[in-house]
């Protein structure tokens, strides 16, 4: 396995080191100064996550107000390094109760050092699973061996679990109420021309699960995807139902999914880890249902005036509604005055991002609100550079709607004791980069 990191640094936005850990001594302790000098304090920041300075490579990533920088001097595996960072952040979040920022780091120095020691060894990533690490890296105080009362709970044996047949699940879990939560979260990426033709469109989705199940349950998930359905119809030798089938690309599963069974029977069956995890990820490029259509007309009237008309049409079911819709319509940098007329929501000009920002809190299906704005520009000294017309951007969330049309057909739980389970399923579609050229 390739080296993933020689050192890891956590910096705040000013570039101060919050915490760091050197894993190998092939990089100097002051390498982070180079990062500060050559990346943070220049315009380079944010352009490329991998930079080489001197003999060292810097991989960096910003999460809330913390920069996480990995320094390596050998030929390292970049993907592995980034995956490590992402997983480490997820781990920290699960320890800190969801938040990962400068304050959280400052409040948990000791814990972070302990975790950093555990999750990477001499530059090679180790076990990053929160469930397992939580067994022996705990936030509770350490009990003194001389204390009179021995602990009631048996000390969980991490080694046994990690090396056992089901590495990700502890035995002997008991819940009073057996529940499974299933969330299908999709984000839509779109680039559309001003004429309304789709230039690029795809959906990335993931299925998140939260399990509170006793014992060692075996779960089976059925979706309306093509492979699964075809297999089923073959087995049962009856024609497929006329319902829509979805073709999933690039499917990746959590390690708990039994891949041999998936390959032979095309069913997703697994013994879930306890608590929250991401069961699978997928991508869809064809047959995407777009939730919104945007029809912009932007006219430049002379050098100092512009007229902007934007119509947004929601094309999902009338009973559904979208939340937190924000439409950002770019305007030239020299915009001086704006006036608006909107049929719903609110609009204003934001000089910091050079956009007209139109917000609609609740956006019902099958409606088409419009915005018309007049923009006045100030005359400038610079020679008239034609305005590049960046695309209109949109943000939204549509609950109970999937852009891919994916549906859960069944979720079966089988356990020796045969208890009853309650299954909850949610769908949500968000905007990824949803852009329309104008």
């Amino acid at each position: 396995m390739p080296v993933a990191a020689s050192a890891i640094y956590f910096l705040n936005l000013r570039g101060d080191v919050l915490i760091n850990r050197l894993y190998r001594d092939d990089v100097g302790g002051n390498m982070v100064d180079a990062f500060r000098m050559h990346i943070m304090q220049t315009k380079e920041l944010g352009t490329c996550p991998v930079r080489q300075i001197g003999g060292c490579s810097f991989f960096y990533m910003r999460i809330s107000n913390v920069y996480i920088v990995i320094v390596v001097s050998s030929n390292a595996n970049v993907a592995c390094a980034f995956k490590f960072v992402v997983e480490a952040v997820a781990l920290f979040k699960s320890y800190f109760g969801g938040a990962f920022d400068e304050d959280a780091i400052r409040n948990n120095f000791v814990l972070i050092y302990e975790l950093l020691d555990e999750i990477m060894d001499f530059g090679y990533p180790q076990n990053l699973s929160p469930e397992i690490l939580k067994l022996y890296i705990t936030q509770e105080g350490v009990r003194s061996p001389f204390s009179s009362k021995p602990s009631d709970k048996p000390v969980p044996n991490a080694t046994l679990q990690v090396t056992g047949a089901v590495g990700w699940r502890r035995e002997g879990l008991v819940y009073k109420k057996n529940e499974v939560f299933l969330d299908i979260v999709e984000s839509v990426n779109l680039l559309m021309s001003s004429k309304g033709s789709v230039l690029r469109c795809d959906v990335t989705g993931k299925i998140l699960m939260k399990c509170f199940l006793s014992g060692m349950p075996d779960l089976k998930l059925g979706l309306n995807d093509k492979i699964g359905l075809e297999k089923e119809s073959q087995l049962k030798s009856r024609p497929t139902k006329s319902g829509k089938t979805i073709e999933l690309d690039d499917v990746t599963f959590h390690q708990c999914v039994n891949l041999t069974r998936f390959n032979s029977e095309k069913t997703v069956s697994f013994v879930p880890p306890d608590g929250e995890f991401e069961l699978m990820k997928y991508r869809i490029t064809e047959g995407v249902n777009l939730p919104f259509r945007v029809l912009p007309t932007i006219k430049e009237l002379g050098r100092t005036r512009m007229e902007v008309n934007v119509k947004v049409k929601s094309v999902f079911g009338a009973k559904m509604f979208a939340l937190g819709v924000v439409i950002k319509i770019p305007v030239p940098k020299q915009t001086a005055k704006t006036s608006f007329q909107v049929t719903s929501g609110r609009a204003k000009y934001n000089a910091a991002i050079d956009c007209l920002v139109w917000k609609i809190r609740k956006f019902p299906g099958q409606t088409e609100p419009t915005l018309s704005a007049e923009v006045e520009l100030i005359s400038t000294m610079a020679e008239k550079k034609s305005w590049t017309r960046p695309p209109i951007q949109m943000e939204f969330q549509v609950p109970m709607f999937t852009a891919s049309g994916l549906r859960v057909r069944f979720l079966k739980v089988w356990e020796k004791s045969g208890y009853n389970t309650v299954e909850w399923v949610r769908y949500i579609t968000k905007a990824g980069s949803y852009e329309v050229r104008c």
């Binding site: 936005l13 000013r14 304090q41 920041l45 020299q334 915009t335 001086a336 005055k337 000009y349 934001n350 000089a351 910091a352 991002i353 050079d354 006045e376 100030i378 005359s379 400038t380 000294m381 610079a382």
Partner: protein
């Protein structure tokens, strides 16, 4: 200040300061810019207060590094506001945001002018500052007279006049043609009488700019400058606020001395004496103290004083004092001071007579060569290089050689080059030189350029007594186990040529030499292998009768390389193999290399080129005068060994081709000689008179394909031997020996060759002067007119033209004026009478002086033989009897000119025409022959008929 009460502005600034990072700052700035845009666009307009506030914000944002491309109109309009706070922000923002090319500035010109001529001092100051900062052409055109008036006005306070002087300085620097400074000399000298030091300092800055452009007009200011300096140095009447660490206004002192350096010299003995007293005082009074600021100030004054001393060519005593002072400096620990000391000592070297004094500090300078600071090491190297002469060359070069092995890689190349040059320039004896260079190659082979080892080879080749020594020496080096490739090259070459001279020494038999060289073959690159092959061939040649075993060995090697991928190696292998089988013929062909023609060392030339960017301009001029004398040291040594007349030399091998004459019947002769590629051979013409043709064809030969054997044949028959004056073989005058600092434009030789064929054209051109020529020829009389054109705006002085006529020409040059006014052309008629035929060429020795630059060129005048020819046409009946009546050499000559590019007949005919030979077509039955005829005129002989 004006900021009072602008709450919005201070809130904005504190917001910016509180930003955690750049991104937040940008967002805040963009938000503010949006706000400002909205406000400026507001129909109701802005109150002056608001306008002022937003323009300040714009400036603040601009200063943070963001683009502000609007609101200039508002800023400019504030200039015309009546109140000070608004006017101030208007002026400040305008001078920050706009540059001289902005159109908006036009709007402001009138307001600015009103402020300048107005009575309000603060407004005047604001306006002058802004104009001084922007200083565009339009401002200069419309405001310069007003500013000048302000500067001279007696009613203004010094504050305003100070600013006016600086403003004028800026306008003058940007557009010297627009600002009218006619008759300003008097006014400047008036200004220099000023008692107020502030005004005086700014006036002095102005004076420096004026004087640098035209020093002659301002000579009246000179005594005033000296007086100022005296006043400062004696510390009389200097207000407390103008002394800096006890030094009276160092800035003014430096500026005054800078101004004085623009005057060529000081004639008035009184002024000169006063000035020297002052300088003496500065030199004496400066020492190294603890305080850095005081040191900086006093050293600035001191070094300017040193520059002035050097400029004025002071007495020796003073110079030695300067050197002693610098000697103290280079002994100081502080690196900055030591650097300055070394640098200025290097500059001092340019002045004559101080070398001996500097030499006393040699040990100290050599210590500086080991300084941890590389810039000090470089300066020390420069200084050592500069101070080297015959007496201390041995020490210095040996020191450099020693230092070479420990020196920085960054410096080694420079170091080795300098050591090589010094060794060459000041070698006490040649074997020492060879030793040094071989050591150099041994120690720093990677940094030795080809020029260096070429030069050794040249020396060894040209000095017979050196050859055995060099051969023995290189053999020693080659015996070492690891040898640098450059060393292999030199050794192989020298051993190939001269190893036979070692014949009787032990271990120097051809076989042993061969094995020593051959050992290195596997380690060298393809560029070296050809040299090794040549060396083998030479060894083989010297070992006559050949040692059978050695011969077989060498042949095996040649055989091996016959299929080498490198064309050069392959060709050599094939040819040497073929040649070596010819036995005795090898002797002739592979004979020892002839001596190299003397030429300026490529190294010295390179060093001179390098110096142009290293040292200062003024220093170079002085140096150039010395350099010529130094360079002569080298050339002087060699003619003693009897340098042969120049022969063009091919790259490495040279085969002498015996001159061939073919029969009269023009049958092209096949030469049975194997021609080596890359050989440019020229037939040595036997009769001197025919050489002219060869000379004229020489420029063509350059373009000819090498080794081309196309012959253009001339039956050159001449009656020219009428004057059997047996001219010296070398009639060519060396022209470019002088190392002039002024480079001629175009090739002088080419211009001369062109003029041999034409009657008018340019003879010589350099950046200052152009010499044109126009000639008329009739019989043996000629009338030339020289056009001397000054290309500059300054006059050329001490113009001298001297004709050095050869014996056969009588030449009379009318008077040449001593000065040529700016941009003028002077005509000088020149009468020429041809007395006898000869190949000699008249030489014009032309010299002039531009500024301090003395230029001296020697130019060949195109009054050559063919100018006195007059074409006549002859009929066939006349031609053949004449032709036959001439009986053999020397009256009838045939010459084959080789190495000339093939030329079509019409072109040949044209060429002959321009030589004033008349072509008679149809005379000869063979269409490939040209027949030409002409008459030759001279005073002593009657007209002669020349047939061709």
């Amino acid at each position: 200040m004006a900021m009072h009460g602008m709450r919005g502005l201070s809130v904005f600034i504190s917001d910016i300061r509180n930003c955690q990072n750049k991104e937040q700052e940008r967002l805040r700035v963009d938000k503010e810019l949006g706000n400002v845009r909205t406000r400026f666009k507001n129909e109701k307009g802005l109150s002056p207060y608001e306008k002022k506030k937003y323009v300040w914000k714009m400036l603040y944002i601009y200063m943070l590094g963001y683009d502000v491309d609007f609101g200039h109109m508002e800023a400019v309009s504030l200039i015309s506001a009546p109140k000070y706070p608004e006017k101030q922000v208007g002026y400040i923002v305008t001078s920050c945001l706009l540059n001289e090319n902005h159109d908006f500035l036009r709007l402001a010109i009138n307001t600015v002018r009103n402020d300048i001529i107005g009575r309000n001092e603060t407004f005047q100051c604001l306006a002058l500052t802004m104009v001084g900062n922007i200083g565009g052409r339009e401002f200069a055109e419309s405001l310069a007279p007003d500013v000048q008036k302000l500067l001279l006005s007696s009613s203004c306070r010094p504050l305003v006049r100070k600013k006016a002087a600086l403003c004028l300085l800026r306008l003058y620097r940007k557009n010297p043609d627009v600002v009218n400074v006619d008759g300003w000399a008097d006014r400047m000298s008036q200004l220099l009488d000023e008692r107020d030091l502030g005004v005086l300092t700014s006036s002095m800055s102005l004076l420096v700019a004026l004087v640098s452009n035209n020093h002659e007009a301002y000579w009246t200011c000179l005594p005033k400058c000296v007086k100022t300096l005296e006043r400062l140095a004696r510390n009389q009447d200097i207000p407390q606020e103008y002394t800096y660490y006890g030094i009276p206004s160092p800035w003014l002192q430096v500026k005054t001395m800078r101004a004085l350096q623009y005057f060529p010299t000081i004639e008035d003995p009184n002024t000169r004496r006063t000035l020297f007293e002052v300088l003496q005082r500065i030199l004496m009074g400066t020492d190294v103290v603890k305080n850095v600021n005081k040191n900086n100030a006093s050293h600035a004054v001191l070094f300017e004083a040193l520059a002035l001393v050097m400029h004025l060519d002071a007495e020796k005593e003073m110079m030695s004092q300067c050197v002693a002072l610098l000697g103290k400096f280079i002994a100081v620990r502080e690196p900055n001071i030591r650097y300055l000391g070394l640098e200025n000592m290097t500059r001092m070297l340019m002045v004559t007579d101080v070398q001996d004094i500097i030499k006393r500090h040699q040990a100290q300078i050599i210590t500086s060569l080991k300084d941890p600071d590389i810039s000090i090491r470089r300066r020390a190297l420069d200084l050592l290089y500069g101070m080297c002469d015959v007496t201390n060359a041995k020490d210095i070069v040996e020191e450099l050689l020693q230092y070479l092995s420990t020196a920085d890689f960054a410096m080694r190349e420079e170091l080795s080059l300098k050591a090589a040059i010094l060794a060459e320039k000041f070698a006490p004896d040649l074997s020492w030189y060879v030793d040094v260079i071989l050591q150099l190659i041994d120690k720093a082979g990677d940094f030795i350029s080809d020029d260096i080892w070429f030069r050794v080879v040249q020396f060894v080749t040209n000095n017979e007594d050196l050859q055995p020594y060099a051969a023995a020496k290189v053999k020693e080096y080659l015996d070492k186990p690891a040898v640098h490739e450059t060393m292999v090259k030199v050794s192989a070459y020298i051993l190939g040529e001269y190893s036979h001279l070692l014949g009787r020494r032990p271990g120097c038999s051809p076989k042993e030499i061969f094995s020593i060289i051959h050992e290195k073959l596997p380690t060298v690159s393809t560029t070296t292998i050809p040299i090794l092959l040549s060396a083998y061939a030479k060894i083989l040649m010297h070992g006559q009768p050949p040692d059978q075993e050695l011969q077989n060995q060498i042949w095996a090697i040649f055989n091996k390389y016959e299929s080498c991928i490198d064309a050069e190696i392959q060709q050599r292998a094939v040819e040497y193999f073929a040649l070596s089988q010819k036995g005795a013929a090898l002797m002739d062909i592979l004979a020892e290399m002839p001596k190299f023609p003397e030429r300026q060392s490529a190294l010295i030339k390179r060093a001179e080129d390098a110096e142009v960017d290293a040292a200062e301009q003024s220093a170079i001029k002085l140096r150039a005068q010395q350099q010529t004398s130094n360079a002569l040291v080298v050339t002087d040594q060699l003619p003693a060994n009897g340098a042969p007349p120049p022969v063009p030399v091919g790259a490495l091998t040279l085969v002498k081709v015996p001159s061939m004459t073919s029969d009269e019947d023009h049958s092209s002769t096949d030469l049975a000689l194997s021609h080596e590629n890359g050989i440019l051979s020229k037939v040595d013409p036997q009769p001197p008179s025919a050489d002219l043709l060869g000379d004229l064809l020489a420029p063509l030969a350059i373009e000819g394909p090498p080794g081309a054997t196309v012959q253009s044949e001339h039956n050159s028959v001449s009656g020219l031997e009428g004057g059997p004056d047996a001219v010296d073989g070398s009639a060519i005058v060396a022209i470019e020996e002088q190392t002039n600092t002024v480079q001629p434009i175009g090739n002088i030789a080419e211009r001369f060759h062109a003029l041999c064929l034409k009657d008018s054209g340019v003879l010589y051109e350099d950046p200052y002067i152009q010499i044109g020529i126009k000639a008329e020829w009739r019989a043996h009389h000629g009338r030339l007119v020289l056009f001397l054109g000054n290309k500059n705006t300054a006059p050329l002085v001490s113009v001298q033209a001297l004709i050095l006529p050869p014996a056969h020409l009588k030449m009379e040059l009318s008077l040449v004026p001593d000065t040529i006014p700016p941009r003028a052309q002077v005509q000088c008629p020149l009468e020429v009478v041809n007395l006898r035929p000869s190949r000699d060429v008249a030489v014009l020795d032309f010299s002039y002086k531009f500024a301090t630059n003395m230029v001296d060129v020697k130019l060949r005048l195109p009054a050559v033989l063919n100018k006195f020819l007059q074409p006549i046409s002859v009929s066939a009946e006349e031609f053949f009897p004449q032709w036959r009546s001439l009986s053999g050499p020397p009256l009838k000559l045939q010459e084959v000119v080789r190495g000339v590019r093939p030329m079509p007949l019409p072109e040949m005919a044209n060429l002959l025409n321009s030589f004033r030979l008349m072509i008679s077509p149809g005379l000869d039955p063979n269409p490939n022959n040209l027949v030409a005829s002409t008459t030759f005129y001279s005073e002593s002989t009657r007209a002669m008929l020349c047939l061709n």
